[in-house]
Symmetry: C2
Subunit: 216 residues, 2 copies
Amino acid sequence: MADRGAAGAGRYKGRSAGERHAERHRRFLEAALDLFGAGPGYRATRVVDICKAAGLSTRQFYEEFGTIEDVLAELHLYVNDVAQQAVLDVLPQVRDKPMVERITRLLRAYLKGAASDPRHARIAYVEVIGVSPRMDRQRLDRRAVWIDFLTRVLDEAIERGEAPPGDYRIAAAAFIGSVNGLMHDWVVGWVDATADEIAGELLQTLLGRYRIGNGT
Amino acid sequence: MADRGAAGAGRYKGRSAGERHAERHRRFLEAALDLFGAGPGYRATRVVDICKAAGLSTRQFYEEFGTIEDVLAELHLYVNDVAQQAVLDVLPQVRDKPMVERITRLLRAYLKGAASDPRHARIAYVEVIGVSPRMDRQRLDRRAVWIDFLTRVLDEAIERGEAPPGDYRIAAAAFIGSVNGLMHDWVVGWVDATADEIAGELLQTLLGRYRIGNGT
DNA sequence: ACCGGCTGAAAACTTCTGTTTTCAACCTTG
DNA sequence: CAAGGTTGAAAACAGAAGTTTTCAGCCGGT
């Protein structure tokens, strides 16, 4: 009885089990990004479609994910992270700028991060909607982060006297709703406008609502 | 060979075939309004659930509707009609009022018509989203009507000098997106606010965006 | 009272997908 | 080069709904 267990998590084609694992995970995610974001969409995509696009088998799919919804959830977190990182990247550059410019640049950074890849935009604003209580929960969690962020920025605008004081909790939630609503309509092609026009429109909405610039 | 065909579309329990037909149609719709709008929702409702709630059989269901989606489509048109009628009802009363008051009352009327029955609100802002290309088409059609209406009201505000002139086509689309986005979040419980607060918020957004009142 | 349409419940049938299993070919290690 | 893990494709299996059919009983006209 030789040491059979030694081959347990053996190497294969030069890579370790974990590496092969991660590689397939990535291939599944990329296939799903195409299918969900530029193909038939989440609802119309079957497990076998993802497998075919990834060049892998269903058995391997179930080795990586529990359900197809897990794939969507992971993609949702990912596209959100990309947008968030885009905002964080410009944050230090606008620290000492006047509020109007600051908000303009932050908003532009967000939209660039969220929507320069149309597949990302479709997943973030269209495909994740109305899927399940679990996905709703994840969306709500992410939304809470953005509301916090927006609230902090606005509070500072008030402190600096660049916006009239007041309680903007509902207004912040409303603006997030506006972004989601407009972006949805834009992504599905109901609004005929360029990305810049969309950004300008959201900016007008935000500045107009908070009367930023004329701190009465 | 007597006149057998005479019994063709006979009466039954005092009502004609058409009346019995219409009655069942109505019962299916009411059951679905409850299930979609206050129960498990459209996605989680099965044909047998509607039948059970309506006290009818699946065979009768398929005599009235082709698919469960037809039921949703009919309810969507209905709840939209209710909201539209609410707006049309106040229109004559605000003809000669100043713009701020006019828009305030129209918006309040809309929200009252669309959301005083929570089942209606849920169907209009939540359940119809992301269902199918066919439902998307119907949503788009209804949305176009609202954009037309809003554009007409705003053009008149400009004519009267109560808003600065400009091209507001994108802005109108954006506002509709805002309404849908905020109402969605509110209906699913993500925004903790009263109906009046929601109305006030949307009003601030609209007036702020269009600078209504100070026709520069 | 009888005949035939109408009703409502249940069963049967169908289709679509998700999920698991099988199997032959393939790699790596000892 | 033999043994045993690894892979990928296909087949088998399972389950949930949608949809159609059946059938016993009810109703209304002749």
